[in-house]
């Protein structure tokens, strides 16, 4: 089958908060905008039960925030395609080609806002138990563990928030982390006050056991040197994230941490290619900084397009 060839002013890769914000701004400037998303619209934040640090909202669910952003972007003419996966990307100053399963797109500007995904549990048994005891989305799979024993692995905000959410299902919940907790005090305190919860710090998960499903784990207490077996039904892994840069690794400058190198202006080493949101190498990665990046990338994309038109 020959793929249709289509040109767009701006193609945004990723429909997370940065990508949707860029789409909103670019759409408002009457640019012809396409957003391509291989996963879930909203990205990581779509799974957030309650967001309390996004200005203007006392509390908002990730789903509602994303839905509003999507409506805003679409109201300004941006098209979002979440069913046509990108298979190949070719980027240079003169040509920007994005091939999907069904089409071949060219674009004057590309904004990469492909975000991050959760790190996998680094144990050889992970594959055996993925979906059968090892999980990465508490909102999606938490319901499977009603009145069961749940472990949340990790010590950052995402892990503690996941643990707080999963207490509504668990009869017992362990939070296991290899060092000390880094999550906000307010979330930690909420978790510590829940009688179902036991927090094991300086503890590593060494092995997963079970026949068809996860049945127990082996844990190592770094302080005492003791190894113990813990009967558990499910583990929710929250041990950090990795940037979604696999598609671009041979196309653009990537940092040693796997993120795209671009300054606060979101400009990459290729003219007309911008990086926005968590995929960009930067110190602070928050919802607010993602929307800031999306705004910056779209406004500078428009400037770039105006200059291009002046040249031709």
């Amino acid at each position: 089958m020959t793929k249709d060839k289509i040109h767009k002013d701006v193609i945004i890769i990723g429909a997370g908060v940065a990508g949707l914000t860029a789409a909103l701004y670019a759409g408002r400037m009457n640019l012809n905008v396409l957003v391509l998303e291989n996963g879930i619209i909203g990205g990581q934040i779509a799974n957030a039960v309650s967001i309390e640090n996004y200005p203007g909202f006392v509390s908002v669910s990730g789903k509602n925030l994303v839905s509003t952003l999507q409506t805003q972007a679409e109201n300004f003419g941006a098209v979002i395609d979440e069913f046509d996966n990108i298979v190949k990307v070719s980027l240079n100053e003169n040509s920007k080609i994005i091939e999907t399963e069904e089409k071949i797109y060219t674009a004057s500007v590309v904004i990469i806002a492909s975000g991050m995904e959760r790190k996998k549990l680094p144990l050889p048994e992970e594959k055996k138990f993925a979906g059968r005891g090892v999980h990465y989305c508490e909102l999606c799979d938490g319901h499977m563990y009603q009145d069961k024993i749940i472990v949340v692995m990790g010590g950052g905000n995402a892990a503690v928030d996941a643990a707080n959410f999963l207490t509504k299902y668990a009869k017992k919940l362990y939070l296991i982390h290899r060092s000390e907790l880094r999550a906000d005090e307010i979330s930690q305190n909420k978790l510590r006050q829940n009688p179902k919860v036991e927090i094991k710090l300086q503890t590593e998960i060494k092995k997963l056991n079970g026949d068809k499903k996860l049945e127990s784990i082996e844990i190592f207490d770094k302080n005492s040197g003791e190894v113990a077996t813990l009967a558990v039904d499910g583990i929710f892994v929250n041990i950090g994230v990795v940037a979604n840069t696999e598609l671009f690794k041979n196309e653009i400058q990537i940092s040693s941490s796997g993120r795209i190198i671009a300054g606060e202006d979101c400009r990459t080493n290729i003219d007309g290619v911008f990086a926005a949101g968590d995929v960009r190498e930067k110190e602070i990665r928050q919802l607010t900084t993602a929307t800031a990046d999306g705004t910056t990338a779209a406004l500078l994309a428009e400037k770039y397009l105006t200059k291009l038109k002046e040249v031709f």
């Binding site: 879930i40 909203g42 779509a46 799974n47 789903k63 979440e82 069913f83 996966n85 979906g131 059968r132 989305c137 909102l139 999606c140 799979d141 319901h143 499977m144």
Partner: protein, 76 residues
């Protein structure tokens, strides 16, 4: 009739439903959180209550969002 075993707030379930809609495929939503019968049916079909589970005959099913497999199922 295509049935989608799912629950409110499950993002991949929503994606499956949006995909079926985009293909003009009618489907019935079976909510495994609100309906114990739906939960039992889901477990019987896939051996688990991990969702979304999409089925057309209660035997052949697709777990999660897999466009190629959903296309095959729709074509049955």
């Amino acid at each position: 009739m295509v049935k989608v075993y799912s629950f409110e707030g499950c993002p991949w379930c929503d994606k499956v439903k949006k995909y079926l809609k985009s293909k003009n495929v009618e489907y019935e939503t079976r909510d495994i959180e609100l309906d114990d019968t739906a939960r039992d049916e889901c477990e019987k079909i896939s051996g688990d209550t991990s969702v979304p589970v999409t089925t057309i005959d209660g035997k052949n099913y697709v777990l999660g969002f897999d466009k190629a497999k959903l296309d095959e199922l729709i074509a049955m």
